[in-house]
Symmetry: C2
Amino acid sequence: MGEEANAAVRLLWGPPAKPSRGPKPALSLGRIAAAGIGIADAEGLGAVSMQKVAGLLDFTKMSLYRYVPGKAELVALMVEAAVGEPPAAVDALGWREQLTAWARQLEGSFTRHPWLLDATVGPRVMGPKELGWLERVVAALDGHRLTGPERMDAAVLLAGHVRGIAEQSRAARPDSPPEAEFLALLGPLVHRHADRFPALAAAMTAPDGHDRALDFGLERILDGLEALITRRAGGARGAGL
Amino acid sequence: MGEEANAAVRLLWGPPAKPSRGPKPALSLGRIAAAGIGIADAEGLGAVSMQKVAGLLDFTKMSLYRYVPGKAELVALMVEAAVGEPPAAVDALGWREQLTAWARQLEGSFTRHPWLLDATVGPRVMGPKELGWLERVVAALDGHRLTGPERMDAAVLLAGHVRGIAEQSRAARPDSPPEAEFLALLGPLVHRHADRFPALAAAMTAPDGHDRALDFGLERILDGLEALITRRAGGARGAGL
DNA sequence: CATTAACTGTGTCCGATGGACACTGTTCAT
DNA sequence: ATGAACAGTGTCCATCGGACACAGTTAATG
């Protein structure tokens, strides 16, 4: 059990390379991942196939299997390379500012590589960079009397929000590899059935720009966290535990 | 453009059936969707193929195409059937209680049908039931001086949180169709590289039960929304606009 | 009642996918 | 120099979604 998972771990966490006997590898994990990212950026994750990646590098499909155990691991490498390094911790800033910058940067990654949304669903092995992003959130919340699980939960909350915003703004974008006008389809649909969706019909005026939408949720979350932090800091001791 | 999208709209929103001339259809959209859901529940969304669905109904693969234009629309039907009806609005309850119940019920749907997480990524046409869920959030926030886009943003925020929690708790479940022990893999990984992830290593004690994790984020979000609502209600008029 | 047009389900075929496996050729350690 | 380890290739396979032509069935029409 977990053979394949361990293979992914070795790829993402293992040593960068080991000198060996035979001919020198003409390819590298980095080049393979970059080729995959190029395809995914241009045509979506669904267009990434072993054939296309190999073709882009002027190699045969099967040669890739010398470097990567399978497609899942290829995608894992692509994700790890595409999320990039997490933003550096700036101790001078407060936790609110740090988390705000974190969320904006993460949203930027999702915008640059929309397929990241598809590639990061479901149980998977996270690479060091992806874990680094998580680390930054938890670290920013250190020293505020939040328990370990609470800090983790806050990170999940923040990441989930950014994901949701990125997904929504991707659907609204008119380019996108798959199709388009889904938002243009949704508007008339809601208004045509305004009797069944009165609140929606009333609320759907202009679709909030995704910057606004990101900031709205972000400020609600941070306000909620701040309330918890100040409550813990020393304020009312009566609020049970 | 949008031909296929319109086909999906017709399937999800169109009339239930129209009496016609030829032989009576032996199948129905409902049965087909149910068969697909059965497979997805048991083996994951990836295991859902036209062949398997047809086989489960003792039909040929191609017969399904008489009912459904393609696999994307099949999945759309499955989603619409699996999310189920949104919780009824209980006017007696406050918005906090309504949204809490909403989030818990949605999380329940994701738990019952983990593949919903995979099926609801990316731009797609939403069915009436899925839209109904959205409607309930927006309706619950009516009458609190929030703008239309703000209420929509709040819905996205809430839905994103539930998604995030569901995804995390799916990864932690030991059954799951694809693989397992990803969380069991993550723990040792973090602690082995505790130098690179000090905050994570400190915070990763016990993985918060998913009930706790859901409620944590939920309360932060609701606190944040409440702060905004009371601020709008009439309090400080000095907070610009 | 006979005809006909519409509709349903099936069989066959296709291109593309991920992957297994055996094979040739290259290179380094001995 | 020789042999083991390794890189890249070619061939093959099951499975996928889907196109298309066809035969069987049924209801509306005369």
